[in-house]
Symmetry: C2
Subunit: 397 residues, 2 copies
């Protein structure tokens, strides 16, 4: 059994860098005071961050001791990270600077059922175009973070699933994309990446669950700013928890899975079975495009479409109650492209059901909210993972 | 939102004490080597444990440096902890020494629907009798750990639920029992306590989920030896996750809850509705006595009883798949008095269903096992909580 310990406390460098980012321009004394670290630890940490070219001196302020205090700040444009998120049906890419700002973004070609070699060549081309859009030279890029579905061997950068086609299972995704781009690549679970991205977008470290819906349904858990990983970094397979113990067999082996009952594929299949709704879905559309089309129909006032979305939201809400009851958590954040138009609809249904069904509701409220950028959160988080990996590496103090 | 940080890494003193317990007689040098702590940290930690009267010098061994090395060992009988576990239908109490040995145990009077004042007087009497059985003077007792259902305010030692009667909600359980016994009292969730007790019984720190069934169903999570707490110490309300999104309304506000569908109360109600099975249950029996009676009938070859138990086990298995899929964990341990006779039956059903339905089964196996002592694990864990609280208190280094 692998150890959970390493992931459960934010490493010193990451804490210090976040704080410098948050405060803008800050003295070592102020940093030591805010973190509780000793002066000596803080001096070492700031020096390391300077060595990594992530922070620099941005000015001085007078001090009571005569000698002025030097202020450090983020060197926002010294280094950049690229974040890519894809599943079979969609993808998006971003370039993020050290201050967490998105300096370029573009949609990726959806991988569909094409083999990994083809998709990796397309991802490498997307990296080239993103850097061109951002006017960022390749040698300023710390790495590419790649957020996608699991199970995955995160350390090795390999997918452990035959989705979308058997070719992908065991394909050395990180190594191949790194070869194709000349940039180091880290792989991350998409829902977990969304959780990390939500923090990048919203600032301070906190604790929340992410309910993620794109081509399928997933979830992530952030505790005090750090992702919950589980023994194989494959935690929170929300799409494959049962919402109907006697329900239909899922391809995963379980019965009555949430994804099969309420996910984009389920909504698509239910819509295609209804002659009046089937026409709302473009021929050949995948599950993500389908749920977005049905969602727009619902928002336009189509009652049958609204019923389908409502049934999906209610089942997702029941599964979210499961998350909240198990993890005893007070904040649920929705992310993923499927929430692009439907975010408020799902949010309101989830909030209403959580308010009446969470076991701990008399002890603490549970708030449901939308990610600051539902579509980009996972890609932005994937970019942040690159920086986090650097700060958490054993070479860092 | 409260912080999760404090609970996610085992504190120094607890690590050192476990290691001393595990090794028997050990030098400071060996302790430093095994933990990775510095010699100075280890010297401080051992001195603190000596000050607390928990360890002492047990001998010396020759060393290469000429001066013999002093060995420290647990002072097993210097201090004791009392652990009590109760719900409405049953209770058990233990006295545990510093080596983790159970030196006395007795069943408690089941609280039933009596008011908290009466039950607390009975618990205080049980404490007196336990100490008499163990021949342990009261001044050697570090505290009483009390494991029971949630939601609870663990820090305040107060139950936040109107179960079994509204009198219990908000009753100052820890303060009242402490007054009645003259011993400090700590409150803990019963399933979490069972997880801590399983570690006391089996040695080394590890990561696993506990599926706990006594009068109802609960769960706990231990990560690297430390309990997962959630924002209000009320994590893993397994009994109130839905296994049927369209199922009957539960009193908790959720629909199709596991406890309502498969717990002891469900088995009792289903059995009482069957004229042939109803006779197996003693008049006036509570849910725990009922499931134990039906279980014994099933083990004796009654097919209808076996069907009821099998249906319960299958639903518990589906909920356990949910736990495993969400937490990405490789070990499930069953504890609680309801498994006293039926442990192997439930274990085998859970293992069979997990083997075919866990999402990560191709990445890692998930093993189901019985706690070393299903009936006492929670009480033994409650006793261990007393020692852990002492070692984790801010006064400890």
């Amino acid at each position: 059994m692998r150890s959970f310990g390493a992931a459960t406390r934010m490493p010193t460098l990451a804490v210090v860098l976040s704080l410098i980012r948050e405060r803008g321009a800050v003295s070592r004394v102020e940093l030591a005071g805010a973190t509780g670290f000793t002066q000596a630890t803080m001096t070492r940490a700031v020096r390391k961050l300077e060595d990594l070219d992530l922070v620099h001196e941005v000015g001085t302020v007078p001090s009571n001791q005569g000698k002025p205090r030097r202020l450090v700040g983020i060197k926002a444009d010294a280094r950049y990270m690229i974040g890519l998120q894809f599943d079979a049906y969609s993808g998006t890419g971003v370039v993020v600077d050290l201050a967490g700002g998105v300096v370029a973004q573009r949609d990726l070609i959806a991988p569909g059922l094409r083999p990994p070699e083809t998709v990796i060549a397309e991802l490498a081309e997307a990296v080239r175009l993103l850097l061109k859009d951002a006017a960022v030279p390749r040698d300023r890029v710390l790495g590419v973070g790649l957020a996608t579905y699991g199970p995955q061997d995160r350390k090795a950068g390999v997918l452990l699933t035959p989705q979308p086609t058997p070719d992908w299972q065991g394909h050395p995704l990180a190594v191949s994309l790194s070869k194709a781009t000349g940039i180091p690549v880290a792989v991350e679970n998409d829902a977990t990446a969304a959780g990390i991205g939500i923090q990048t977008l919203s600032g301070a470290a906190s604790s929340f669950v992410v309910v993620y819906m794109c081509g399928g349904i997933g979830a992530g858990l952030i505790l005090d700013g750090q992702p919950y990983r589980g023994v194989t970094s494959n935690g929170l397979e929300l799409g494959h928890i049962s919402v109907d113990a006697l329900g239909p067999q899922c391809t995963c082996g379980n019965r009555g899975c949430l994804d099969t009952a309420a996910g984009p594929t389920a909504v698509m299949e239910q819509a295609l079975a209804d002659p009046l709704l089937a026409g709302r879905i473009e021929s050949g559309a995948g599950p993500l495009a389908a749920i977005l089309s049905i969602g727009r129909a619902a928002l336009d006032g189509d009652a049958a479409a609204a019923d389908l979305i409502d049934a999906s939201a209610q089942k997702l809400a029941i599964a979210t109650v499961t998350l909240v009851n198990l993890f005893d958590i007070g904040r649920v954040v929705l992310a993923g492209r499927a929430f692009a138009d439907l975010g408020p609809t799902y949010r309101d249904t989830l909030q209403a059901i959580l308010d009446q069904a969470v076991f701990m509701r008399h002890v603490h409220a549970t708030r449901v909210e939308l990610a600051p950028d539902v579509t980009q959160a996972a890609a932005i988080g994937a970019a942040t993972v690159v920086l986090r990996n650097l700060l958490e590496s054993p070479d860092a103090p």
